[in-house]
Every structure is written in C-alpha cells, then in structure tokens.
Symmetry: C2
Amino acid sequence: MHMMNKMITLRSRPQGWPTNETFEFKETPVKQPEAGQIVVRSLYFSVDPYMRGRMNEGKSYIPPYKLGEAIVGGVVGEVIESRSDKFSPGDKVMGYLGWKLYNVVDIAEVRPIDEKIAPLSAYLGVIGMTGLTAYFGLMDIGKPKAGETVVVSGAAGAVGSIVGQIAKIQGARVVGIAGSDEKTKLLTDKLGFDAAVNYKTSPDLKAAIAQACPDGVDVYFDNVGGDVTDAVMSLLNDYARIPLCGAISSYNKEIGTDLRPSILTQLIKTRSMIKGFVLSDYSDRLEEGAQHLGKWLSEGKLNYEETIIDGFDQIPEAFLQLFKGTNVGKMLVRVTPDEK
Amino acid sequence: MHMMNKMITLRSRPQGWPTNETFEFKETPVKQPEAGQIVVRSLYFSVDPYMRGRMNEGKSYIPPYKLGEAIVGGVVGEVIESRSDKFSPGDKVMGYLGWKLYNVVDIAEVRPIDEKIAPLSAYLGVIGMTGLTAYFGLMDIGKPKAGETVVVSGAAGAVGSIVGQIAKIQGARVVGIAGSDEKTKLLTDKLGFDAAVNYKTSPDLKAAIAQACPDGVDVYFDNVGGDVTDAVMSLLNDYARIPLCGAISSYNKEIGTDLRPSILTQLIKTRSMIKGFVLSDYSDRLEEGAQHLGKWLSEGKLNYEETIIDGFDQIPEAFLQLFKGTNVGKMLVRVTPDEK
C-alpha cells in the first residue's frame, strides 16, 4: 500500500493566540507497518484546551510538543492494515495519536473500542478523557453532598456538561455558567441543571450568580478562571471545594498579564480548598470512573453534546474555536468520506 | 473596690491602614463583679494580624468587632477579685478579653494557666493560639515528609517561626522568608532553618528562593501573600501543599486593589492544593496540638521569640507595627507596673 499521508505539525510555539505560523501541514507517504504494528485511519480527532499548554515550553504535567512533529491528541480510528494477531482490518481503536490521516503505530499505543457499547465519538468524550476528568475532579475533590450547591464554569463544554449531570446524580443543586443563551437553555432544558447564567450578557455577573445560588456555593468546578472565577469566589460558603480543572480564559494570555484580585483572602475567610488536578493523577482508578460513567449513560442519566466539524484541514481552526467558546459539549473533528 | 478602667474601643472601621481615627481610648469605673464573676487585671495583650479582618464589616469566620466596644483579643491576666469558688486572687488566667486594664468576666470566659509549666506570655504564643495554628496548618494541610522542602513566609513571625521548627522536627529541609537580615540570621542561627531569604534585599526574589530550594518547594506555609507568594508559586513541585494561614500583605489594601498574576495555571500544572484554614477548624483537636507543642518545648526542640512592648497605651501602635514587620516572633504588649 503506497498512500499519501497528511499531517499537522507544530511549526512554532505561539505567543498568545495560535496563528497561521503555529501549524504546518505536511504530506508524506504512509510508512509500511513493521511486525507488531497497525495502520490506523483516523475517524475522529479530539481537540482539547489542555493542548494549548503543550504548545508552550516549560515544565508541566506533560511534556511540551516538539517542534516539527505532529501534534498528538485523542484519536478514534479504524484499523486498515495489521501486522499483529490482535487486530484485524475494520477494528475500531482509540489512542493518543498524531494529527495525521493515518497513524502507523505499535499495538500498545491503542486500545480496542466497541461501537455496540457507545458511538465511536463517545470514546473521546463522555466515556473517555473528558468524562473521566469530570468524574474524578468532582467526586474526589469536589465531593458534593446532597442539597449542596455546585457551580460549574464552562458548563456547556465537554467536561462541564458532564460535571453538572454527575452533580445532579449526587443530589446537589447545580448552576452552570456559560457564554450564550443557546448554551444556558441547553443546560436547564436538556441537561437538568437547576439554573444557568450567561456570563457574557449579565450586567452584574456576581449578582446574577448570587441570585442563582441563594444558599451560596459549596463546590465550584472551575474550567475557565478569569472574571467568572472572581465572581464565584466571592460567593463561597465555608469549606467550599474548588476542583481546578482548567483556566481556559488565560491559556492564550502572555505569562504575567493575567491579573486579578487576589483570591487568597477569600480562601482564608471561607477555609476553602483549591486543588489543581489532571486525569493522570487517577490513572489507577480509571476503571472505577469508567464503570460509573457507563452505568449512568446506559441508565439514561447522562446526556452528552458534541460539536463536530468536518474535514482534517479544519483541526487547527476547531482548536482555536475552543477558546472562542463556539462549541457546545465535546469538540471533535471528523474526517470526511472523501478524505479517506 | 472603685477603680478607674482604661479601655480601647473601635471608633471607626479603617479603610486601608488603621489611623488615629480607628481607635478610641476611654476611661470608666471598673464594674463590680457579680456572683460567678472575677476581676482580671491584664498582664499581656496579644496583637495579631487576624484582628485587622475583624475591624472590617462583612462575613468571615469570626464576627466583626462592634463599633464603640472594646477590641477583643488574647489576654493573660491575674485574678484580683473573685466571686467564684473556682478562682482566687493571684491566680493567672488566659482568655479572649477586651483591650482593658481590667476585665470583669464570667469564669467561663477564662481558663487557668500555670507559670510553672511555661512563662505567662507563652500562653499567648508558642503554646497558645499561634503555636497551635502553626501545628495544625503544617501537620494537617502541609503534611511535610522527611526530605521534602518546606518554605515559610513571615518566617520570623509568631506563627512562621514555630512552623519552621516543627517542619525541622519532621525531617524536612526548611527555608524561611523574612524582611530583615536580623530576622534571617535568627532563623538560620537560632531556630535551625536550613536557609533564609531576605525578600526586601533580594534583587531577584524568585532566583533567591530557587537557590535556597534546589529541589523545589513541596510545602509552602503562607502567612503573607503578595509578591513573596507569587515568587514561591513559580517553584512548586508536583502535589505541593499550601496551608494558607494569612495574607498580611493585603490586609490593609482596599478591596480589589490587590492584583497579581493568576496562580491558577500554576496550581493546575503542579496539581497543588491551597487550603485556607483557621485554628477554630481544629477545635476538637486542640489537646493533641497542645500536647505535641508542650513536649517539644520541654525537650528543647522548640524555641520562641517575643517582641514585647510596654504600656497599655501602646496597644494600637503595636498592632500597626505587625503590618510593618518590626516584630520578631510573637508581638505582645505588657502592662507596666505603674499601670497596675
């Protein structure tokens, strides 16, 4: 098989927002698989805010992307050629693979997934990384109790939309913060949130959140940081818990320019706890999370939204749209039939 | 007994730094004690940064001081008249009493203390509120392990100086941050800190702390906030713990003016935890803390410093000096013999 491959590499490290200079499209022949390898044709690419951090240099919980190499992220694909007994053409797999039409990889780099259990795209979302991130951040750090108030920022996003539903399953009152009326309507009408606040149109954001949270805030699952977080911080109850999952409002700011009122005094007053976390902190408990998510999904207690953009070439644009908040739920890029 | 009493009341709530308008000196006759009451002559007054918070209106872990009433804080005194079987004149007691030369109180408001166990002033410091605050914040939130690096801000202060010594007892490497060469010398020469940084004279504070912490920072016991905290935040190791005890650098700033780079991204990168706390969170474990502190003190493992200012009238000035950092160790005001 001699096919041409398309890939997207990191050309330069962005300062602030990624631009046309950030990414480079390349075409190369698809490599021949060696023994123990498979050729995976990409079907869905996951674009996620954490990827912005990997475009920077510097120490973090995951190494930076290397310049000139393909960006790596969650990919669902189909095996089209196998040099292993463990996979056959037609099998569907999931892995952290390159932004490439075809990835030639050792079988250890992927795991099989089953369309009969859930749609392929769900393995990149509700029962994949984003669902598990929601589960562990909320359950292990937030620890919501029945009757408590849980506020979720980025509530219509991939993680936030799951967080709110799990909090409802736990019996909490759930308030979502999102950036459009379409999103807030989704939260209350479809996903069962008790209230939702549009942070872009509320003239007094703190007052709007306070009104939606008459008993204060016990758990704040933070995906966004910035002004939204400042507003919620002022409403914390004693012993509030703040799973700190993301700060998407600051990822494209230059370091040192993201200034805001200190939250420290507020944390002391309320004896609250903020804890940063990433999913890999729970690598030995993934099965527990997956079982709960799968059960709730099968019971109809979990809904999930997806924003799917078609076309491999759209991956960089889809990634940028994450930071503009145009997606509802999990943002995915789907390879179109004519690209296969 | 018809004696005149002196007291200091809160005249007005300060905006920013307390001024002459904040406090009012009053003279009134000492009340006659009723049955079950005692008259306590003040010997030592504790002045503490948290008192600044009580001068503001607004919800916190402890109600605001009331305008026109005596400021309340830790006081050690001597019983000079008793209408209770439980106390006799000459007994020494400790309680949260008014800034008054004489407090006439129900016996439930004080507890007896013993000069033979520790000097009277120690009941306001190392084996009192400040020692216990150091103990629980470090042991319950910081959880230092042998070989880890513990950084303490406000390290020469009442709480910080005890925190560092307890961390040494736990086998940690301990680095103190303080505001004068006299203080840093005290930390390393007398209190056993491994290194100390003078934040006022270090041209590059982050570099200076980094040099003192070649293995990064595992626990940051924060008493000060502000620039010092920003510098330490950039050096956190993964899973760092930050007991948030105080933010003295911001207490006299007007609300909303204390801006700084966001720490949220840093917390995510390192999956670190910040937790605000106050001693009363541990009200059911005070005995445990007191036993450890008493044992370490008797074993010569704990030293403590005091800055004692003489004269009842000096209480407001002593309080202000706290925020200027002129004290070493616990700041106390002692009533002079001619005031008795």
